[in-house]
Symmetry: none
Subunit: 415 residues, 2 copies
């Protein structure tokens, strides 16, 4: 099955936005066994989009369009595709109800043009939008099938995964399917991971191993193509075991919709443990990262953001002498912050973060120098120094990820 | 002048690499006064690339190709373009010398396939590679001009800026350039904004107005094409004033590299004011958003994350009776949190966030219900209720943005 992706939006052609949707969709379509031969970007222009559809009809079974489903005049994808296939646009009753409900709830006036977002192509399957208002459509034409998705990645991704994939599998049933497992690693770089697994990566054609480096973590996607689900499971498990024998130390979890924060919250819940934090250079990022996971209230009561030395003393009770003698970027300060934070939060674990986010240095220490302290209910406390390079945001994020991993390891080794 | 960008590489079609080259080149070409009408990605495949060149010849004056100049068998861009224009490939003497020199210096053996990197299209202008070994080419055909650039962004960008731009300006001399201003808005939706500006958007061709909706904000890019810089400035300023007369209430700042958080930190610094916060449902996200801005230490000492009712009482001193009588999702609780937070942080402003992040409801109130309190040093305190829909992350982000805007308005109206 041949597929192509058409992203519609002048902002892409002006270089204002990176076309990450094409990357996401390419990867997802490959998993469904589709071969993507073209990605194209075209502006918000009726004629050029129409021409492109004429061309795409000749070369692709599936044409995935993203962008241009919104309420403004620029948003013309639905209209152009509908005319191209000789259909009209009709209101989707469910999408319309959601739209009304949204404006009622948010106490905003619904301008007329918003109704456009509830329109779908006649005789198509409407795809609801879990994160927005514009509905998508899947239309099976005589020659090609058209999938229309919204432009914002936060809307496109869940609509594709939840609503488009099941419909696509009906339209394009395949004997052989792709089965895959995603393994997530923290604490090892991509180049090291690839070096450690070089013979496995080079030698394998089915399953294949695809490494992917993200900020502060690496994932490996193992994919097998087969008509037999049991066979798939066996092959994936065998290769996973070989991989984990070598780099299992850095493995923390499975799946695309996962994160180190989620694994930590799940582990805390499973073990009936709680955590708090006192954050200086991370300024609340560790706590809000935990807070992004639903169900966190069971395991996280809150904590402190003590950015200034003054609040470290006033709110957290760090001794003035400690700061005078050792500075805030020190083992002593990190330990006191963690211990006092544990006492205030009445939790099983407390983390502290103190260091130099940058760009400027602090107390003569370079940007990127970070002390992380960990206190436990039994009175144990330790602190270690880390050096994260690059910019302010990277330093803060790296400190948060390291803190999450420290908690993860503390729970797993505690017993 | 019409241009299009063709990125060559199967890794792009598999979703392993994001096509940031297209974004970079689009922006650069716009600055040169070229109109980019298409971006296409095609795999390492002779026939499909050849077909695409036939199509591009018909629609573009300049065809920019990136990727496929390297030493491996997959690297076929030069070969396909040369055959397409009826020329052969010849060795570039300077590129060849650099290649030899590189392998001598690095004491590595030069495999035969590396020579491919020094080949250029006969009768073209060779572009040297400041950061790599593969040379680029600029070939002026009868109908179209072809620019061949390497795939790695670290090679493509300097080659384009240093070596391609001067040559392109000779081939396509223009009097006119593009000048643009970006206006940023918070608190108004994209659909409302374009409704309010409908006649301006429809009526204008030079300057043009391009709206772009991001999570929780909207930007407008005003662009003018002219040969006269003073004229550009005047036209941009005039249109900006017309826009701000209508929707200036929601305008908060200029530029691509800006954010509401940055504007707030800058304003606090300029006015010598400080802020703290007590966060429940946002769990530290407001504080870490401030913390992402460098220089924030002058205006933000820290604050509290009181996720549980227990810590609202123990750390923040909210009265037990308040929570018992009104619940945590209430005006009373939000006000007490703000007032007590101000006292603890000793700041000019204090924000409080308490509400239902979701997905579940709390105290019988729907997910998305958020009270935000604002206390000021002079004793004033107020709290308002907001309803943010969608998912947990959106609710948290929306609350943070609203909090930032409350501070911004408080500073601006303070006199």
């Amino acid at each position: 099955m041949k597929a192509e992706i058409i992203a519609v939006g002048t902002e892409l052609l002006l270089g204002q936005v990176v076309n990450t949707n094409a990357t996401f969709l390419s990867e997802q379509l490959a998993d469904l066994g589709m071969e993507v031969y073209y990605q194209t970007v075209v502006g918000d222009n009726r004629n050029r989009l129409e021409e492109l559809l004429n061309l795409a009809d000749k070369r692709s079974d599936l044409i995935v369009l993203c962008g241009g489903l919104g309420p403004t005049e620029d948003d013309l994808t639905k209209e152009v595709v509908a005319r191209h296939v000789g259909k009209s646009l009709v209101q989707d009753p469910k999408g319309y109800q959601i739209l009304l409900h949204f404006f009622e709830n948010s106490q905003r006036v619904m301008t007329e043009n918003n109704l456009q977002q509830a329109l779908t192509i006649q005789d198509s399957i409407t795809l609801q939008n879990p994160n927005g208002l514009a509905v998508g459509s899947l239309y099976q034409g005589e020659k090609s099938t058209y999938l229309l998705l919204p432009g914002p990645p936060s809307e496109l991704k869940p609509m594709f995964r939840q609503n488009a994939v099941p419909e696509l599998q009906k339209v394009f049933p395949t004997e052989e399917k792709l089965y895959s497992t995603v393994l997530r690693f923290y604490g090892i770089g991509e180049s090291q991971l690839v070096t450690d697994l070089a013979d496995l990566i080079d030698g394998q054609t089915n399953p294949t191993i695809a490494p992917y480096a993200k900020e502060n973590e690496v994932t490996l996607r193992i994919t097998v193509k087969t008509g037999d689900e049991n066979e798939a499971e066996k092959l994936l498990k065998e290769l996973e075991q070989k991989i984990l024998q070598r780099v299992g130390e850095f493995f923390y979890g499975y799946g695309d919709d996962n994160s180190l924060a989620k694994v930590v919250v799940d582990l805390l819940r499973a073990h009936g443990k709680t955590v708090t934090a006192a954050e200086s250079l991370t300024a609340g990022m560790f706590q809000s990262t935990l807070g992004s996971i639903s169900g966190v209230s069971e395991v996280f009561p809150g904590g402190l953001v003590t950015y200034s030395p003054k609040l470290k003393i006033a709110l957290l009770g760090v001794k003035e002498e400690t700061i005078e003698k050792y500075g805030v970027v020190s083992e002593e300060c990190a330990k006191e912050m963690a211990v006092n934070s544990l006492a205030l939060g009445q939790t099983d674990f407390a983390l502290s973060f103190t260091g130099v986010a940058g760009p400027d240095e602090l107390e003569g220490q370079a940007a990127g120098t970070v002390w992380i302290g960990l206190a436990k209910r039994d009175g144990q406390v330790e602190a270690r120094c880390y050096h994260f390079n690059r910019n302010r945001q990277y330093v803060q994020q790296s400190a948060v990820m390291k803190g999450l991993d420290l908690i993860r390891r503390a729970i797993l080794t505690e017993k």
